[in-house]
């Protein structure tokens, strides 16, 4: 054991510049990877919350409305209303259908805009009756929307997905770009580790040759190299974990959470998960290249 520790220490010292390079690359790439994970969690969170909340609103005709499937100057008849309800309820994608009369819509309007000057700008008759639809799976909305649009007595179908989807697409792209970049950097880090260890093994090839000859186990031979890259990796993981935690605290915990309260935000449990995933990747990145790089010297 003493021999192993001494070898590890002298290896780290001998390759100090390379060890630092490994630590830095490891820290930067793992931080990016962690940030990518957190972005992805945030996007999922927002998506889940919003998609859950948004309903499809199917507005019905009044005497004043135009366009859609309305007849000029006529509101939706009782029969049309029933037929719309039945069609919607029969669609397997639809989870629930609520009816909101224009009186209820007006009350809601009054409640939402209680302190606003536009409160007096509307009357009950300017509101519309509507069906509010909740979907089984919020992501499969287009079928329901196009079906509703074709029903007699439907003036307009409002659907927030259309506005939100481009935003989510951007967020998704951002998330993949972050993860993509971090994967490239992680690859660089692992090649750097492999190279460092290969050099270290070359410097110690005499010792390794003797160890093999006198019957040292492969594990014993490889252990100093494993410890060497693990120590470099662990420092990288700690730095990256710290960066991620501080970044989260400064950007999200103290800033975004107070200024944008409408959005759901990731919390410390997400940060912990990201750091754990990062640590696992970091350890794998230290261990696997080391085993591959030393294989040549261990072949019996």
């Amino acid at each position: 054991m003493r021999h192993t520790l001494r070898e590890t220490w002298s290896g780290l010292k001998r390759n100090l510049a390379m060890t630092i390079a490994v630590v830095v690359t490891m820290a930067v790439s793992l931080s990016l990877f962690g940030a990518g994970l957190l972005t992805s969690m945030e996007v999922d969170l927002v998506k889940g919350r919003w998609y859950d909340k948004i309903e499809i609103s199917v507005f019905l005709c009044t005497e004043h409305t135009q366009g859609g499937m309305c007849e000029e100057g006529k509101g939706t008849t009782e029969a049309q209303r029933e037929s719309i309800r039945q069609t919607l309820e029969a669609n397997p994608e639809v989870a629930e259908v609520f009816y909101e009369s224009k009186e209820e819509a007006f009350e809601e309007f009054q409640r939402v805009f209680a302190d606003s000057p536009i409160l007096g700008s509307r009357t009950v008759d300017q509101m519309q009756d509507s069906f509010r639809i909740k979907l089984e799976n919020p992501e499969n909305y287009s079928g329901v929307v196009s079906e509703a649009q074709g029903l007699q007595g439907v003036q307009n179908v409002q659907d927030l997905h259309r506005i939100l989807d481009p935003m989510f697409n951007w967020l998704n792209a951002l998330q993949w770009a972050t993860i993509g970049m971090s994967v490239l950097l992680l690859l660089a880090a692992s090649l750097q580790i492999a190279n460092t260890i290969r050099m270290a093994a070359f410097t110690r090839r005499r010792e390794i040759g003797i160890m093999r000859l006198v019957g040292a186990s492969n594990f014993y031979i490889v252990l100093p190299f494993l410890l060497e890259s693990l120590i470099a990796g662990l420092i990288g993981i700690v730095v990256a974990g710290g960066t991620l935690a501080i970044g989260y605290y400064l950007v999200i915990e103290t800033n975004a959470k107070t200024s944008i309260q409408a959005l759901p935000w990731i919390d410390w449990s997400h940060v912990t998960t990201a750091i754990l995933a990062m640590a696992a990747v970091g350890v794998a990145l230290a261990v696997i290249p080391t085993l591959l790089a030393t294989r040549k010297y261990l072949r019996i």
Binding site: R206, L213, V214, G215, S217, I300
Partner: protein
């Protein structure tokens, strides 16, 4: 101790066998010279015993184990029963005599207490008592080879393989090394020595195996170097 049964070894990409249909047995405590020109297969013979290679055909037993079918992970255990000495000593630079010998025990996980006891004993056996703290670089060739022999023998192996151990030494020093190998052999250790040194073989009068182009052409008890 060592049994070759129809052993043949081809190296990848070569048409000619490095060893061809070798059949022989080496008993416990025997002293065997392995002679033959360069390229006759001596090194391959020794490396097969060390399980650096597997035989292409045939079966090879060493210390009761079938090396042809042996699992890779059992090789270290086999090597702990075999000591090896080379022409170029292969000592670790920057380490003292004691450290070089102790290294062989440390890396197979022997406790420090045992190492402190057994290394001086072995150094005394090879005639290096009092030189524990010398650096390799301060030693003569003969002394360096004694360190190498101490390292090979410190774990009390059943077999000692010596590949041209006197190749780099003058005749007088060589005699000293041969006396040492003879002493080790008398502790019931099987010694196999590949050599080009005819005078040593002729003086010692031990079993001689001669290889020529991969074939065993002579197996003579109390033999001499050249064909008598």
């Amino acid at each position: 101790m060592i049994t070759f049964e129809d052993v043949t070894k081809f190296y990848p990409g070569q048409d000619r066998a490095a060893l061809r249909n070798i059949n022989l047995e080496i008993g416990k405590g025997e002293f065997v010279f392995l002679v033959g020109q360069s390229g006759s297969g001596k090194s391959t013979f020794l490396r097969l015993i060390l399980r650096e290679y597997r035989p292409t055909k045939g079966t090879l037993y060493v210390a009761g184990k079938n090396l042809t079918t042996m699992n890779q992970w059992k090789v270290p255990a086999l090597r702990r029963q075999i000591g090896t000495v080379f022409q170029d000593f292969r000592l670790l630079p920057g380490k003292t005599v004691f450290e070089n010998v102790a290294f062989a025990l440390q890396v197979i996980g022997k406790p420090q207490r045992l190492i402190k006891q057994i290394v001086p004993e072995t150094l005394e056996l090879v005639g290096l008592a009092g030189k524990e703290n010398r650096q390799n670089e301060e030693l003569s060739g003969g002394e360096q080879q004694r360190v190498a022999i101490a390292r090979a023998f410190v774990n009390r192996p059943k077999i000692l393989i010596a590949d041209e151990p006197t190749g780099n030494l003058d005749p007088e020093t060589s005699v000293g090394i041969m006396k040492l190998l003879d002493r080790i052999n008398r502790t019931d250790t099987t010694v196999i020595m590949a050599t080009h040194d005819s005078s040593i073989v002729d003086q010692m009068r031990r079993r001689v195996l001669e290889l020529r182009q991969g074939e065993l052409v002579r197996d003579q008890t109390k033999g001499v170097y050249g064909t008598a």
